[in-house]
Amino acid sequence: MGEVTARIGVNGTPRELVVPAQELLLDTLRERLGLTGAKRSCDVQVCGTCTVLVDGEPVSSCTYLTCDADGREVLTIEGFAEQPEFAEFERAFDERAALQCGFCTPGFVLTLKALRDAGELRSREDVIQGLDGNICRCTGYKSIVEAAEMLIGEPAAGLRGER
């Protein structure tokens, strides 16, 4: 099968990757780049566990071809964790105990970041509807929704990271 070259910004670092045309972004991140924060779980774009941001939009990297990210910026949880804004998310999830096994957590965090950056995290209803593509099997969502409610609005001044 043919290989393609994809020039992708990964967490702010330009990468030139030669990958099989059918390679999934999730495999590129996990197996080639050692970025294991995005998890493989459902394989069919249902559970949100493999969520990463491509040009700021949340995508399921389990069904997203690496070659389609050519010319784009990919942000994974590892990259977001380096940004000042992450501290707010960390504190909210920690304070509300919004995780148990933690396997789904990076996907929730990145989905919420994308919602907030898009100005779509304004209310509890926004939170609930905005999380309909992320499954958590442990918490029953209450604590996650509460953590997300702490993040409603704009990022705190000066904390906004690069997209």
Binding site: R30, T36, G37, A38, K39, R40, S41, C42, D43, V44, V46, C47, T49, T76, I77, E78, A81, F86, F89, E90, F93, D94, E95, R96, A97, L99, Q100, C101, G102, F103, C104, T105, P106, V109, V127, I128, Q129, L131, D132, G133, N134, I135, C136, R137, C138, T139, G140, Y141, K142, S143, I144, V145
Partner: protein
């Protein structure tokens, strides 16, 4: 934050201490089983059966082995010992009282869709997948048994030589028939539950390698670190030549209680000498890993004119699938809990579990104790309607109390706070809302339950822990506990901090390693806080006593007067003090060590015997609950929406309130999925549910706001009198939703899940009846 207050005199037990593993998990840094890699590791995959029941007339691996990058293809003949023996304290007819048998790789016959036939190890995952396609398997299909009732037909195909009856429990206390005959009201119904999947987000995964001294080491997602022994037996190695490490696990719920990837990872490393990784796909996880038993229950329940139960006749038939695994034990839980938290003088219970060609069933949260809640609570609601008594009042008249004995002979030694739970849950409820639109109806339902915590008493369960100081005054806990997300490890930090004063952030816990940490038993059966918590509590108290003696000498007081604080010890409120570093130096000079190893042993009981007259204690203790659900039903589509939910449990004493609430909220959400949407669908034993696109797990949109009531009776067998809370919240949601739907539409649903189709059909039937009468 929770509303629970830390009790006077306590430092951290009962407080919302942030979990030590939270920050790593939020940042995506936790290294789960599939996140780990070793240089040069092989990729392992399983060839699985396309048929639910067939003879394997040919398994040819030649073409697969010849492919580029394929290192080895193994079949049953290659496995040193292909038979897995599961110790099951139940009445498994096939192999005597205490063991169940299955195969690592199918040997001549496959008995369920997805049963492993061959194991591939290759240089890349792509090569492994290509090898699976190249393995040639010829099947001679055998007739399929896909119904538990039919399995018992003498004419039915026999799945194992021992016959299709896998296990049974039967008992009678008093005279059930006479009781029924004397009852003022008798209600009778049949209840059915479905197969469901644990659906944790982390699929089964692990990595294996050969470590120093030839020890086969497996780092895998499991709830049971003691499976190292099972792997050793499969590999025909001494137990001490296999080591199992459990990283933080991405959810378990019983699905990682039986072995999953462990045997295969062991085989590849043992036979090739190379490291290996195996990760199951979601399709494999859904289709080929064990499920929760589907159960058919028939209940006849009689009460006198005052609404006091006089008789119960229960017939339970569960579908155990193709291999025994833990089915006999699951059935024992059903038998123990069949009458619910109710007092009844005449009880007959007949419980059977059978082999079929469905995916094997085994442990899942609630473990047989939860399915029967649909039956016993459904009966209480029917009886209340029959007698014209309020359903909660009927329950109050019949609750068991301390000193009572369950029909199986189980004594209840701790307080049963169900009346207080009903009161507390009812107080949290608001008036039922009005329907949001015409052709919609709202309803409210309640359900109560009991669920054991801790393993069967005759298993002589024990847990051990090691606690020691480092020279800088920080503390280390070593304990081979698998942490599957419930905060199993962080609760232990909290307990050690409570006793020894060391600040939680100065405590490191090393978990889940069968070689380096003391064994503490399985993270199953709602036993880990109870058992490991008691072990750590004992170790911490022993260590405190050890150090207090030395400190007392130096500070010239009695040992009891020594206070332990975050940085060290002191007396008289800090008048004189010693930092831990100083105290440890003093200990060294007088040959007192600053570490201890302690073991907690659970209460013992008379071993179960294969005899219908056996009665006795089965479990250490129980956790009780009361839940309430408000639902709205769309009368045309049948869609049921849960509007509000209140869940109350007596947990004895909370160690971490947020963790307790998390267990309750998560259990309710999982229970609501069970009630309304989740099911594995089979067609002639072919599992059709291969993806989360078909298997419908509730999201934040479906799960209502869950209000938790955490009652602390101060009685329980865990550390600081805590009770277990992992499994108990899973029981009540389905019967509470059933009662709420009944309240809304006037029709009773008895078969899970309550899908829109079933609810709409019930509404139509009810409306047609009304039209016919009108």
């Amino acid at each position: 934050m929770s509303g629970v207050e830390v009790k006077p005199g306590r430092r951290v037990v009962g407080s919302d201490l942030a979990r030590h593993d939270a920050i790593e998990k939020v940042a995506g840094r936790t290294v789960y089983a599939a996140d780990f890699a070793l240089p040069g590791m092989l990729h392992a995959r399983l060839k699985r059966s396309d048929y639910a029941h067939a003879k394997l007339t040919r398994v040819d691996t030649t073409a697969a082995e010849a492919l580029d990058g394929v290192v080895a293809v193994y079949t049953a003949a290659d496995v040193p010992r292909n038979t897995v023996w599961v110790d099951v304290p139940g009445q498994t007819l096939e192999v005597g009282a205490l063991k169940a048998r299955s195969n690592v790789l199918a040997d001549g016959v496959v008995r369920y869709h997805g049963e492993p036939i061959a194991l591939v190890a290759a240089e890349s995952d792509d090569a492994a997948l290509a090898a699976l396609d190249a393995i040639e398997v010829d099947y001679e299909p055998l007739p399929v048994v896909d119904d538990a009732e039919r399995a018992l037909d003498p004419e039915a195909p026999q799945i194992h030589e021992s016959g299709n009856l896998l296990a049974h429990w039967e008992l009678e206390e008093g005279d059930a028939e006479a009781g029924i005959a004397s009852a003022a009201a008798v209600v009778e119904d049949e209840y059915r539950t479905q197969f469901i999947d644990h659906a944790y987000l982390e699929p089964e995964a692990g990595v294996s390698w050969r470590d120093t001294d030839g020890v086969i080491t497996i780092r895998a997602a499991t709830q049971v670190v003691e499976h190292f022994r099972d792997v050793a037996r499969i590999l025909d190695l001494p137990d001490n030549k296999v080591r199992l490490i459990t990283p933080y696990v991405g959810g378990g719920f019983g699905g990682k209680e039986d072995m999953t990837v462990e045997p295969y990872l062991g085989i590849v490393v043992a036979l090739t000498g190379r490291p290996a990784r195996m990760v199951w796909s979601r399709q494999e996880s859904l289709q080929a890993r064990q499920n929760r038993h589907a159960v058919r229950m028939r209940y006849r329940t009689g009460a006198d004119a005052d609404g006091r139960l006089v008789a119960m006749d229960v017939d339970i038939l569960s579908d155990g699938g193709a291999y025994a695994l833990l089915s006999a034990l699951v059935l024992l839980y059903s038998t123990t809990c069949a009458a619910g938290p109710y007092r009844c003088p005449n009880v007959r219970i007949r419980a059977r579990t059978v082999y079929t060609n469905h995916t094997p069933c085994s442990a899942m949260r609630g473990f047989g104790g939860m399915q029967v809640a649909l039956g016993y609570e459904g009966q209480m609601d029917r009886l209340a309607a029959e007698l014209g008594v309020d359903p909660l009042e009927l329950r109050r008249r019949n609750f068991v109390e301390r000193g009572d004995t369950l029909p199986i002979g189980q004594p209840l030694e701790t307080t049963v706070e169900l009346p207080a739970l009903i009161e507390a849950v009812t107080e949290r409820l608001e008036p039922p809302p009005e329907p949001s639109a015409p052709r919609r109806a709202v309803g409210r339902g309640f359900a109560c339950n009991l669920q054991p915590y801790g393993r069967c008493v005759w298993l002589n369960d024990w847990s051990s822990a090691w606690i020691g100081f480092e020279l800088d005054g920080t503390l280390v806990i070593r304990i081979a506990v698998p942490d599957i997300g419930g905060g199993q490890a962080s609760s232990l930090i909290q307990i050690a901090s409570e006793v020894l004063g060391v600040a939680p952030e100065r405590i490191t816990i090393h978990i889940g390693d069968s070689a380096l940490n003391p064994l503490t038993g399985t993270t199953t059966a709602t036993r880990q806080l109870y058992m490991s918590g008691n072990a750590v509590l004992k170790a911490a108290r022993d260590l405190r006593e050890q150090l207090a003696g030395v400190a007392a000498e130096l500070l010239e007081v009695e040992p009891e007067q020594v206070e332990f604080g975050a940085e060290g010890v002191s007396v008289a409120g800090g008048e004189r003090s010693l930092e831990f570093r100083e105290l440890l130096a003093a200990c060294a000079s007088v040959d007192v060590s600053w570490h201890v190893h302690a073991t907690y042993r659970a209460p013992k009981g008379v071993p179960w015997q294969a005899d219908e007259s056996w009665r006795g204690r089965v479990f250490p203790d129980f956790t009780y609950g009361c839940h309430a659900a408000d639902v709205e039903v769309d009368l045309d589509s049948g869609q049921t929406r849960v509007l509000r939910y209140v869940a109350g449990h007596d947990v004895g004493q909370t160690i971490n309130p947020q963790s307790v609430e998390g267990q309750i909220e998560g259990g309710v959400a999982m229970g609501l999925g069970y009630a309304l949407s989740e099911r594995l669908v089979f067609d002639e034993a072919q599992n059709l549910t291969g993806s989360f696109a078909q298997y419908l797990i509730p999201t934040a949109v479906e799960v209502p706001e869950i209000d938790t009531v955490v009652l602390e009776s101060g009685e329980g067998m865990g550390p600081f009198n805590a009770r277990g809370i992992g499994e108990p919240p899973i029981g009540p949601p389905a019967p509470a939703v059933a009662a709420a739907i009944r309240d809304a539409i006037g029709a009773r649903l008895t078969e899970l899940p309550f899908t829109p189709e079933r609810v709409a059909a019930a509404v139509r039937a009810r409306e047609e009846d009304a039209d016919a009468e009108g």
